[in-house]
C-alpha cells in the first residue's frame, strides 16, 4: 500500500518509515511475529527490557485478565544483553537492514546496573537504533517504578547513562507525575519519552482472598487505560520539546490517531499484539487511512494537532 501521505517521522534521531512501534514486553524480540506478517512493515520495534545479566522474573501466575485489559507480573524476565545479542542479534540486524528501527529496552535494579547494560549494548548491539531506559516497571522491587516515579530518581538514572551512549536515548515513563518527570528527563538529555508503562493495579480472588498474580500487584495494560495514557501524552507534549512515543491500549488506528493528535510522534502497540498477533500492521493501515482522511500530505502535520 503506497500512501498518499508521508508517514515517515523522526523520533529523536531515529528515522522511522512510519509511526508504528511496539511496546516493550509485548513483542518479544520481534521474530515471534514473523509467522504472522513481515515485521519489516513497522516503523520500529522495541524489544523486551534486558539487563546486564539475565533475570528470571517472577513466579507464576504472571497474568490475570481484568475488564478490558490485563495485568502482568512478569518482572522483566530477560536473557540479559549478551543473551539477546547471541540469540536474536542476527535477526535484529536483518530487520534493521530492512529499514525497521530496532529500539532496545534497557532494564536495571540500580543506576549502576543501567549503566552496565548500556555499556553492553554499546559494545555488542550495532543494530540498536536507540536505547529505551525502562525506569517504570511496576513489577520489580528495586529500580523500575521506584526510581522512575519522582523527577529526582528519574533524572539520576538518565544523568548516569547519558554519557555512556551517543545513540538516541528514550525513557519509558511511569504513569506518575509525568510533567515533572518529563521535564527532568529532557533536562538530562533524553532524546524521546515513551509514555506510559502499565499502571500498577490489583486483582484479588475474593474466594481465596489472595492475589490473582504471584505478587500483590501487577501492571495493568489494555484499552481500559487508553484515555489515561492519551491525557498523559498530551500533558507531556505541552511540557517538553522532545518527541514522544504514545503507549497504552491501542487496539485500532483511531486509538493511535488520538495519540498522534495529543502529541505523540510514534505510537506503540502493546497488549493488542498478544490478543491479535496481526494487530500492528492492521493499526498501521488504519492510521494511514485516517491520515489520508485528514487532508494532509504529511503525518507530521497531525502530531499535536488536537484542537482542544
Amino acid at each position: 500500500m503506497v500512501s498518499k501521505v508521508n508517514m515517515a517521522v523522526d523520533l529523536g534521531g531515529i528515522k522511522m518509515k512510519n509511526p508504528i512501534n511496539t511496546a516493550s514486553g509485548t513483542y518479544g524480540f520481534g521474530w515471534q511475529f514473523e509467522g504472522f506478517y513481515d515485521v519489516s512493515r513497522l516503523g520500529a520495534i522495541t524489544t523486551k527490557g534486558c539487563a546486564a545479566e539475565p533475570w528470571p522474573g517472577n513466579p507464576a501466575p504472571r497474568m490475570a485478565e481484568v475488564t478490558s485489559g490485563m495485568m502482568n507480573s512478569v518482572g522483566l524476565q530477560n536473557p540479559g544483553v549478551r543473551g539477546l545479542v547471541d540469540s536474536y542479534g542476527e535477526y535484529l540486524q536483518q530487520l534493521s537492514d530492512k529499514g525497521t528501527q530496532v529500539i532496545c529496552q534497557v532494564a536495571g535494579h540500580s543506576v549502576d546496573e543501567y549503566v552496565r547494560a548500556v555499556d553492553l549494548f554499546e559494545e555488542l548491539a550495532p543494530f540498536a537504533a536507540g536505547l529505551e531506559i525502562n525506569i517504570s516497571c511496576p513489577n520489580i522491587a528495586a529500580g523500575g517504578c521506584a526510581m522512575g516515579s519522582t523527577p529526582e530518581g528519574a533524572a539520576e538514572v538518565i544523568r548516569a547513562v547519558r554519557s555512556h551512549t551517543k545513540r538516541p536515548l528514550l525513557v519509558k515513563m511511569a504513569p506518575a507525575r509525568v510533567v515533572e518527570v518529563a521535564q527532568a528527563l529532557e533536562a538530562e538529555g533524553a532524546d524521546a519519552l515513551t509514555v506510559i508503562n502499565s499502571i500498577s493495579g490489583m486483582a484479588i480472588d475474593v474466594d481465596t482472598r489472595r492475589s490473582r498474580l504471584s505478587r500483590p500487584t501487577g501492571g495493568m495494560s489494555g484499552p481500559a487505560l487508553h484515555p489515561i495514557a492519551v491525557r498523559m501524552v498530551w500533558e507531556v507534549h505541552n511540557a517538553v520539546n522532545i518527541p514522544i512515543v504514545g503507549v497504552g491500549g491501542v487496539m485500532t488506528g483511531r486509538d493511535a490517531a488520538e495519540f498522534i493528535l495529543a502529541g505523540a510522534t510514534s505510537v506503540s502497540v502493546g497488549m493488542a499484539n498478544l490478543v491479535d498477533p496481526t494487530a500492528a500492521p492492521r493499526i498501521l493501515d488504519e492510521l494511514t487511512e485516517w491520515a489520508e482522511s485528514q487532508g494532509v500530505s504529511d503525518i507530521n502535520e497531525l502530531i499535536g494537532a488536537f484542537e482542544g
Binding site: 513483542y27 513466579p59 498477533p277
Partner: protein
Amino acid sequence: MALPTPSPARIHDFTVVSNEPVAEGVYRLTIEAPRLAAALEPGQFMSFEVPGDTRQLIRIPLSYSSADAEAGTVTTYYAVVGDGTRRLSAMGAGSTSTVLGPGGHGWRMDKGAKRVLVVAGGIGITPVIAAARFAADNGAEVDAVVGALTAAKICGTDELGPLCGEVRLTTDDGTAGTKGFVTAEVEPMLATGAYDLVLTCGPEPMMRAVAAIAEAAGVTCEVSVERMMTCGFGACNTCNVETVYGMMGACMAGPVFDSKVVAW
C-alpha cells in the same frame, strides 16, 4: 548462528461442528478448521477467541484429543470453569470464530517406547487421549489410568478406551473405579516394570506425584503443564515454567516437558 524459529501458530477461522455436554461440567467440542487440523501435533494446543464479552480480550488455550486432517476437524474436551468456557459452551453448531494454533511443543515421546502408561486427572484427559493415540500409532501398547473427582465427571473414556489395552478408573469419592487418587493405580502398575514411558496431564500435584513414582521406577515421564497464557506464541513471557534450565515458556518449550526438567 541461526535465526530463531517462530511458532507455527496462525489465525484460523473455525466453524463449530458439535459442542455437547459429555459429563458434569464438561463439553466435547468439534470444530472444522482444516489447516489447523492438518498442522496439529499431539500435545500441542490452540487458543480460542470466544465471542460474547467484548471486555474479555484474551484467548482461551485448550489442548485437543483428536485432529482429523482428512475431515479437517479438531476435537477437544473442556471444563466449564469460568465465564470464557461458559461462553464457549454456548457456541452452537454452525457458530464461527477464530482459533490460533498450533501452539507449543507436544509430547516428545521416545519412538522406541513399547509400553506406554498414560495418566489423566480431570480435564487433563484431553491431551492424554492424543498421547494415547500417538503412542498406539507408533506401535506401542498403551494402558491408561483416568482419575476424576466423581463418576459423573469422567469423560473421554469412550474415545480413549479403543486406543488402550486397559483403562483403570479412580475417583476421589469411590463412585467409579478405585476410590482414591490416580497414584493408587499408577504405583502398582509401574511397580510391575512393564512400562517404559509415562505421559500425564492433570492438576500439578497429581502430575508431581506421578512423576515421582515414575522417576523412582526409572521410567521417563512427560507432563503437560498449564499456565496462564496471554499470547500463546512466545511473545509475552506470562506462561513461565521454572525448569532446571531456568525459566521456560509453557507456550513454546511446553506445554509438554520431561518431568525431570520441571523444577516443581
